[in-house]
Amino acid sequence: MYKYSDFDTATVRARVAQFRGQVERRLNGSLTEEEFRPLRLMNGLYLQLHAYMLRVAIPYGTLSAAQMRQLAYIADRWDKGFGHFTTRQNIQFNWPRLTDVPDILDALADTQLHAIQTSGNTIRNVTADHFAGAAADEIADPRPVAELIRQWSTDHPEFQFLPRKFKIAITGAAADRAVIRAHDIGLQIVQRGDEIGFAVLVGGGLGRTPMLGQVIRDFLPKADLLPYLEAIVATYNLMGRRDNKFKARIKITLFENGIETLRAAVEEEFLRTRPAFSGVDQDWLAGIEAQFAPPAFRAADPAPFEAALKVDPLLRTWASRNLAAHKQPDHAIVTVSLKEHGQTPGDATSEQMRVLADLAERYGYGELRISHEQNVILPHVARADLPQVHAELLRAGLATANVGLLSDIIACPGMDYCALATARSIPIAQQLATHFRDIGLEEEIGQLKIKISGCINACGHHHVGHIGILGLDRAGVENYQITLGGDGTETAAIGERAGPGFAYDEVVPAIERILRAYLELRSDASESFIAAFRRLGPAPFKTALYGEGQRDAA
């Protein structure tokens, strides 16, 4: 894993000291809220519905055991004993006092964490495939490049006041587990002959105007990455609209100008940026790559695991749901679900964080990952150790075997926390998970991605859920729109709205009607909901929702 250089340490500490002074000046009246607000946002501090919220970056979703333990400590000392993992590989603390935030930032810096550029119109936390460095299907670990981008984008003087926020995601595999098509820039490591490079997508984004990214370069040589990124962001900085917040993202720049015009402008800028990079960035990258060398995987006979599978049905179910193929055949990638039925998606208590840190240390080479799907990953576990890991997860209430199933729901904080929300998300997720468990249909329904957002900004990725749910305020009442057929992977698609929305207490029955129709209509149990939807189109599901001839009403 990456260790801060002296420069990194000094940068982060200096920022904390600056912010400490800014908080003092806010409290003694030297700074008005208007003056202070952009300063606190630059350090990830929001004011939400009931309290402040501190958003901490987990760069490319990678945490060490020591960092996870520090997050637990912060949750206990300055918050309410829990944290919320988000769809952008951040952790949010929901109850800090303004007066404590400088101390929290110092505590984060103690373990090389920070909250810089987790808000504001800057380049945000760079996200990556949560199986990075472990996945069997990976061409290369995308995290060294993500770290290079983090260093390049942090405090980049040209990009502190972009027209709007700017999000970059990267994957090293053809399978897209990082939703790169829904990011301002999506990067995919690709191989052409012996050469490693990047497919570069631009202009993806969800929110008010959902769009999938388009390819601006199908093969960018590895060494050209930073100058090319700089060319894209510089072009956007000039071409992007500043007259209308809702039209300020690069997806609108792309939509209004077209990919050819945008590409030509970027390539022209690239002629200027490229000579400015002397190659020093590639020297840095080489240094960073050395720090991401894989751990010395121990050889371990997986026989004890194979034997335990035969006699332990709980282990068998969990293994069938929560494990993924590791590049080392005698290892596995373990997804620890933070989606226990009835609990808040993405929340972990400080005790659970400590258990995860301990497990990472004992069985996982000290490494953890956070997924955009709001789960925690132990990326490298010897298969021989899986029975012990499962037993300890069971004891900590962390062995929910639902990864990829209906209850593995993405939900934004919604109006339970967020000042921007128009309706609640969390209770909808809780009710869906418990209802389908109670009626015994979750296993039978199989692979399904439900994603819930509590406002049009779509932090819950509802547009790319197989079933998406969007909470709105309709004349002072919570109302939920359902979208169908979305997909956040390499076969990305924006879901289409099914029809009129549903009241808060009508959402679960509505989803049940859709899913009972699916169970009726699927060709056999191997046809997933999304496959059936693609074969059949939306009509039968709309009929299930609204009845014959009713779907165009209201």
């Binding site: 409290l27 009246g29 004011l47 519905l49 309290a51 309410k80 109850w95 006092r97 109006m415 002072g476």
Partner: protein
Amino acid sequence: MSRKFTPKIVTANDLRAGDVVYLTASDDWSRHHHEAEFLEDEAIAELRLLRALGQGDIVVGPYLAEARQGTQGPEPVHFREAFRTRGPSNYAHGKQEATNV
């Protein structure tokens, strides 16, 4: 035609703790909605908001929120304001936590 004025209260968040607070008739900030000053006159409501805006050393982001008169005092009209009087629905945190103690 201008819209008919409906009764309001002044609410904000506490600068230090972030907690939801309400402006009272005695110029204090209360943590309880029912202790808020009930404002039935638009001109007075605007004046009270101006007063709150001048207290940036105590509160953040004051605004006028719809309210109706209840048995204990003003009650929220919109569900967002109702949530602000309690806290989140997934844990007994926030104001509801204090009332549980």
